[in-house]
């Protein structure tokens, strides 16, 4: 169904690859121009058997209702995520909290686009070993508070691979991985979102070789209270380009990312053992790297609000700190000759910074102290012994094979 002329050839055709065996994997092709395309595509996603591929025809799919997949080991493959590819257009969406919801294991999503959903773009929940590959999730009018929250949104899953995706316009996070374990986000572009990439309440993640640009904040590593899975740890953020994150924050208020200052490169909030290394930072007006505690009131005795064991090393720092958008930031910058150092720490928890750039501490070690009592001063965080380097995240070979 990759060729334009074939679009009208079939409505919903089921092509058995090996008709002799009923259990053989088959390709279920669905055309964008089928009458009732929404219903037919949803039916295909329901009737797929483990091993099958649901092939999305090229063209623009006008969809009114969210899609969902609950069959394990299914591939959903389109004809490409760019123009001329398989474009799932949700501008007229009337129901469901996301464009596509996956709730089964071993699913492979590749080569299609999800546009202008009312809520989240693609969500997967409790979907282990999911692979997001060569996808585009976009709100095409650019940053708007009325855009959906998350672009690509795996949650409560083990083994998550996000590879070569493009996400733009999310009013929360473009790529958001929540309450999950063993995660790789790589070779992707996140632009003009509030948060480009966010790893939240998760364990064991590698975020590398991505471009996070023109977001409010480029890459966030957060841990929040009162959630089923918390105590986020072991996250490596490396070899990314994190630049010009200058989009004014357009998140609906109340959400935690609404508090991210415009011009943030990488932001670590709470968590333990986060390594930020070999990234290229430039043009982040508040800070290239920010390390803070969770400073909101909470009633969760199990929650650990401090960042601990954070290591910053080997990064390239371009211009930063020239337009700090946190309360009092402009005054501090003025007092320091126009800009603050590229690394900002609120003074809570502990961190080691080996980059040869300045660190500004707000000297607020107790997260209960209001930020208005900040006593900013340069800090030297280069002393002390860094914790042992975190291991490389390894995903099951079958997942890597899918994207090769």
């Amino acid at each position: 169904m990759r060729f334009h002329g074939l679009r009208h050839a079939a409505t919903l055709c089921i092509v058995a690859a090996f008709a002799a065996s009923p259990a053989a994997a088959k390709v279920i092709s669905v055309s964008a121009t089928t009458p009732d395309a929404n219903e037919k595509l949803q039916e295909a996603l329901i009737l797929a058997q483990p091993g099958d591929t649901v092939q999305l025809g090229a063209g623009v799919w006008k969809l009114t209702d969210g899609l969902s997949l609950d069959v394990a080991n299914v591939t959903v493959r389109g004809a490409g995520a760019g123009e001329g590819g398989s474009i799932l257009d949700f501008a007229g969406q009337q129901g469901a909290g996301e464009g596509l919801l996956v709730t089964s294991d071993n699913v492979f999503l590749t080569q299609f686009a999800v546009l202008n959903t009312k809520g989240d773009g693609i969500k997967s929940k409790g979907a282990d070993r999911i692979v997001y590959h060569k996808l585009r999730v976009e709100w095409t009018a650019g940053p708007k508070e009325t855009n959906g929250a998350y672009g690509i949104y795996p949650v409560e899953s083990s083994d998550v691979l996000i590879d070569s995706v493009f996400v733009r316009g999310a009013s929360d996070a473009g790529i958001y991985v929540g309450q999950s374990k063993n995660i790789v986000v790589r070779d992707s572009i996140a632009t003009e979102n509030v948060a480009g990439i966010e790893i939240e309440n998760s364990y064991d993640a590698d975020v590398h070789d991505n471009i996070a640009t023109k977001n409010t904040g480029g890459i966030l590593v957060f841990d929040l209270p009162s959630l089923p899975m918390q105590g986020g740890h072991n996250v490596r953020v490396f070899e990314n380009i994190v630049n010009d994150n200058s989009t004014p924050n357009f998140a609906p208020k109340g959400n935690i990312v609404a508090s991210v200052p415009t011009g943030t490169g990488v932001l670590v909030m709470a968590n333990r053992n986060v390594e930020i290394f070999d990234n290229v930072f430039d043009q982040n007006g508040t800070a290239n790297v920010m390390i803070v505690g969770y400073r909101y009131e909470h009633k969760d005795p199990k929650y650990q609000p401090l960042p601990k064991g954070i290591v910053v090393r080997g990064n390239q720092h371009g211009k930063a700190g020239y337009a700090p958008k946190f309360a009092g930031g402009d005054m501090i910058a003025a007092a320091m000759g126009g800009s603050i150092p590229p690394i900002l720490w609120d003074g809570a928890g502990d961190a080691i910074v080996l980059d040869k750039v300045g660190v500004l501490s707000l000297n607020l070690p107790d997260v209960k102290t209001p930020q208005s009592e900040a006593k900013p001063s340069p800090a030297d965080l280069s002393k002390g012994t860094p914790p042992a380097a975190l291991p490389v995240i390894k995903l099951p070979e079958a997942m890597e094979a899918k994207v090769r």
Binding site: G95, P228, G254
Partner: protein, 342 residues
């Protein structure tokens, strides 16, 4: 609704008066197979395939039903001959293999009260299966709609307002989104705390279908009867049925950390009191808390219940209108909470 309930009762009395309690027309082979018949009639659940005339079984209602765009829901249970349902110690009702929970959805002022759709929840050896059927234009049979469908309807809600909506018949997966517990499909309404077996049914009939019918003692108050319980208890009953099927630690909204079961601590953060938005996006409505005690106007739980925008609305599926009466009850409940408790 009363009229149709009476019709169901009449049909059941008719069935129970005969020699065989289980009408021979229910095709248990189809019920218990893995089949997804295209036509509802294949199950033989209705006499003459008239949705007002169950072929067998026993009707039931709920103290608090799940709101579905003001539809009247007509429910009955078909249990195979010789088998019985059992109320477990925790109030969960265990149904034998071969049981079908049948729910027909319609409005009294649409198509003369003929249902738009009938949903089946079938207990098979492999677990529960959900199948949605939409009634054909001639009303003689209903057709499987695995992929769901939007059906334009115009009806009046109890307050007299006219609604023209594209009513969403859920697809098979959406059935599971609500009916899911730890990834498996389970019934929502039929729990002893919420369950009212057809009051017209004799004790004898009850004991045909239930091993321990005396254990069917609902503890939740009738949600919309001010005499039945306090505002708080009725609000909690409403939340249990309308939200907690997803908002529980093993449900579709487990990651939210918002848990709204009848059995959850109604004063805790996890019940929404002073709880900040998690993955709420536009659903926060610019507010800080799901429930701000004493302040419903700044409680985004209310904001989401009163929205029909898919990026905001809760529940996420099954609703194209606002349940004004339900939202009013929850508003009152939050307004009456002492502000200091937060």
């Amino acid at each position: 609704m009363r009229r149709i309930f009476a019709a169901i009762c009449a049909a059941l009395l008719c069935a129970s008066g005969g020699a065989a309690l289980v009408a021979p027309s229910v095709d248990q082979a189809v019920v218990e197979s893995d089949a997804m018949p295209t036509k509802l009639s294949a199950f033989g659940l209705f006499r003459g395939n008239d949705p007002k005339l169950p072929a067998t079984g026993i009707g039931y209602t709920l103290r608090a039903p799940l709101f579905s765009d003001y539809t009247d829901k007509h429910r009955f249970i078909s249990i195979p001959a010789g088998k019985k349902a059992k109320v477990l110690a925790d109030g969960v009702i265990e149904f034998p293999v071969g049981t079908v929970l049948v729910k027909s959805f319609g409005w009294s002022d649409v198509d003369e009260g003929h249902p738009v759709e009938t949903r089946l929840l079938i207990r098979r050896a492999s677990g529960w299966t959900a199948l949605p059927y939409i009634w054909d234009a001639d009303g003689k049979d209903a057709t499987l709609a695995l992929g769901g469908r939007r059906v334009p309807v115009t009806f009046k809600s109890p307050d007299g307002e006219t609604h023209s909506i594209r009513y969403a018949v859920p697809n098979k997966n959406q059935c599971k989104e609500c009916h899911s517990l730890a990834g498996e499909i389970v019934p929502i309404g039929p729990k002893a705390r919420n369950f009212i077996l057809d009051p017209a049914a004799s004790d004898k009939l009850r004991s045909v279908y239930f091993e321990n019918p005396a254990a069917l003692k609902p503890t939740m108050p009738q949600w919309d009867d001010p005499k039945a319980g306090s505002v708080a208890d009725r609000a909690r009953a409403y939340l249990d049925v309308n939200c907690a099927h997803c908002h529980n630690p093993a449900g579709s909204a487990s990651n939210s950390g918002l848990f709204l079961r009848w059995t959850d601590d109604p004063t805790g953060v996890n019940y929404g009191i002073g709880k900040r938005p998690t993955a709420a996006g536009r659903g926060s409505g610019g507010m800080d808390f799901a429930i701000a005690p004493g302040d419903p106007a700044h409680s985004f739980l209310i904001y989401r219940l009163e929205s029909t925008d898919p990026g905001i609305a809760m529940p996420e599926v099954g609703r194209s209108t606002v349940h004004k009466e339900g939202a009013a009850l929850l508003r009152q409940w939050i307004a009456e909470m002492p502000k200091a408790s937060h």
